[in-house]
Symmetry: C2
Subunit: 425 residues, 2 copies
């Protein structure tokens, strides 16, 4: 088994990265820039051809740069399955998505597709590294039994396995792959050592913390849930501040000011492909209301809260023209998964409103001029930098009301519109 | 009105502090050590005579030192009402408690007693500073109307008023009165100026942040609720980790390690006179489950969770002898208010268990030897430093089981007892 450790140490081990999305592609690209041979695998042919042409298939300028560098070095290739390269790979890193179903259960379909690929490789003396976010016990109760039953090999003896969860922020992937500490939950010491040596090639000063397999799954969930709850609590504060006719953002500033025990975030939409579902991976295991489920309820309610507040001013909004600025789940991103802005748009359309959307990162949306020209109500839904200087343009539009989810504008900069803001009454 | 500001600036203004508990007494004492004349008022005669004798009526070594210093300077006097000194005082600081009733509503009785005192003073050109923790709108909807109707004076015109909430940790009061920034919500600029000048005598470099009256009430609640939710989430994580047979504290360490987006606290009892009730002051205003109420439910359930876990091992614990170490709500304190340890003891007694308690800070408890000699089950309930070196003594006792709420001991240090710990299975 130390053969693999040696190969990893001297960079002759070949890495396969399964899933070339926002987690897998930056990882594959970064490893290849460290002169390690990487084979990226994905079933999406459009994505593969984009990567082959050196083009990042989603918006991430830093990753695009890294891909350019990778192309020059020539150590990254892509494939649509592992079959052709099954005799080459030594380390398989699984980065596929684990979304939730409409019923909020985990959707393992991508994981099972990936595992089928994994089992094409003769795994003897190889390592499988689970980097996807997983509900607790997935690795010990599903993944290991699956691989063992398909291959007849024994985890921890014939092949190695470790959970090493991703914690990057979208848009900062390349930077954070270098800087963030890695959580490593290997089945044994040798697995931990292999993962450590592998990731040290990214950054020789990288920090590591070690736990059990299930501990690593939980540690990732705990981290994301902790962050998500902060956003939810801030949104709850926003609703309370509105009840009392006060300004939540200002009070949060006052509360945090030079006070180390307070680090309350600002109110706003909280969603996306990670935060909102990671808590469900924990909460799904209990029949009772948890803090996580209550926080989820609060964050998921904020789009409806926005609709309600607009209705308080406008009455029934059936047929009214509404322009929404931003549809992606976070600033500077084109990622629409679990986006509260998108939920807002669905809710508005359900009221019978006529909604137009502009997002500078999403091609299929209307132009900013088209949205501003035509709308009676404007909603600033995603806090893209690109929207910061729009106050004048909004002021000179035909709109009568603006709802500013992120407090991006000042009331006095848009004096001719009625100004509503989350957490302010 | 600038007369009062001048008097405050040149330290000739006399301060009355209403309520000489854990908030009021350190404040009164610290002001007096800055050579400002302070009259401390309380209705508890025992407390007054203790202070008159220079003795802190509760456990707080740093405050005792400050009181010694204050005694030498001789600027602190005490009284059982404001009647006798009503013509002396310029600034009245209200620090009385705002506990909750058994039904979890706010109990304003101490506030109303204090307001009666306040109205004995001719408030013209004086200032009232509310330092108690208050439900939002208490000052504008109750306190100001009360004073105005009793005195015929107009707030902000005839007298000044500001909310300036306390945020000290018990046991660190003297240090934190000097160091923490002050939140100031004055009715007008002059009120803000007066409070600022007054508190600058404590520390000329003190930081201030300004908001509305209600904003100041909310800012205090937001800060405490934010902290309380962190503890609750950690306890929820503990319960989940137990479900998965993992160790919550270790996983939390792994999650936090060098990762700035995670700052998850350790699981343990969370209660006391501030944190658990401050959230209720917000939550009481809604008929729906809030994050705060769910967090409250989690934290308040932990004592029962401890009882349940012990029952899982011992079966019915009717008649069994149980020794509880620690009854105060936090380490190094003798404060029993809203103490989860005390709740635990009540729950144990309700099962029919025979409970003995030792707390080094609480006189009416049994000796450590008496508790250890006699108990079949030991529960480490409060994380007093004094308990840290007891492992050996516990190992050599007759006890068969220990429940370590705080993870103070290592399983291997007490090998002959069964070891249970919050967040570990």
């Amino acid at each position: 088994m130390s053969d693999l450790l040696d190969k990893v140490k001297n960079k002759t081990a070949v890495i396969a990265v399964l899933g070339l999305g926002r987690v897998g592609l930056p990882l594959a690209s970064v490893f290849s820039t460290k002169k390690i041979r990487v084979i990226g695998v994905d079933i999406n042919e459009e994505r593969l051809s984009s990567i082959k042409n050196g083009k990042c298939p989603f918006y991430d300028p830093a990753l695009q740069e890294n891909l350019n560098e990778s192309k020059e070095i020539g150590m990254l290739e892509v494939a649509n399955d592992l079959e052709k390269v099954k005799n080459l790979v030594d380390c398989i890193i699984v980065t596929v998505g684990t979304p939730t179903t409409q019923g909020n259960s985990v959707d393992y379909s991508q994981v099972f597709t990936a595992l089928e690929e994994v089992c094409k490789v003769n795994l003897r003396d190889k390592i499988v590294i689970m980097r996807s976010t997983l509900p607790p016990k997935t690795t010990t109760e599903i993944i290991i039994p699956y691989i063992e039953s398909k291959t007849g090999l024994k985890a921890g003896k014939d092949f190695q396995i470790a959970v090493c969860p991703e914690r990057i922020l979208e848009g900062r992937a390349v930077k954070e792959i270098h800087e963030l500490p890695e959580i490593v939950g290997g089945i044994n010491q040798i697995s931990n050592d292999i993962v450590t040596e592998l990731f040290k090639h990214i950054n020789p000063n990288k920090k590591f913390s070690y736990t059990t397999i299930t501990g690593a799954e939980l540690a990732k969930l705990f981290a994301n849930v902790y962050r998500y709850i902060g956003f939810a609590l801030s949104n709850e504060f926003a609703v309370w501040a509105e009840m009392y006719g006060e300004n939540a953002s200002e009070i949060i500033d006052v509360s945090n000011y030079e006070y180390s025990r307070s680090n309350i975030p600002k109110p706003g939409f909280a969603g996306g492909p990670c935060l909102s579902k990671d808590g469900l991976f924990l909460d799904n295991n209990t029949t009772f209301s948890s803090i996580v489920s209550t926080a989820w309820k609060v964050n998921e309610s904020i789009p409806q809260h926005v609709v309600n507040k607009i209705k308080e001013v406008k009455g029934n909004i059936f047929g009214i023209k509404i322009g929404v600025l931003g549809i992606s789940f976070k600033a500077g991103s084109d990622d629409l998964r679990n986006s509260p802005s998108q939920k807002l748009i669905e809710l508005l359309r359900a009221t019978g409103a006529q909604v137009k959307v502009h997002d500078p990162f999403v091609n299929e949306t209307s132009s900013i001029n088209e949205v501003l020209e035509d709308s009676e109500v404007i909603i600033l839904a995603t806090n893209h930098e690109e929207f910061k200087n729009l106050a004048n343009k909004i002021e000179n539009s035909n709109a009568k009301l603006i709802y500013d989810v992120w407090g991006m504008y000042k009331k006095e900069d848009i004096p001719s519109l009625k100004y509503l803001r989350l957490g302010m009454n």
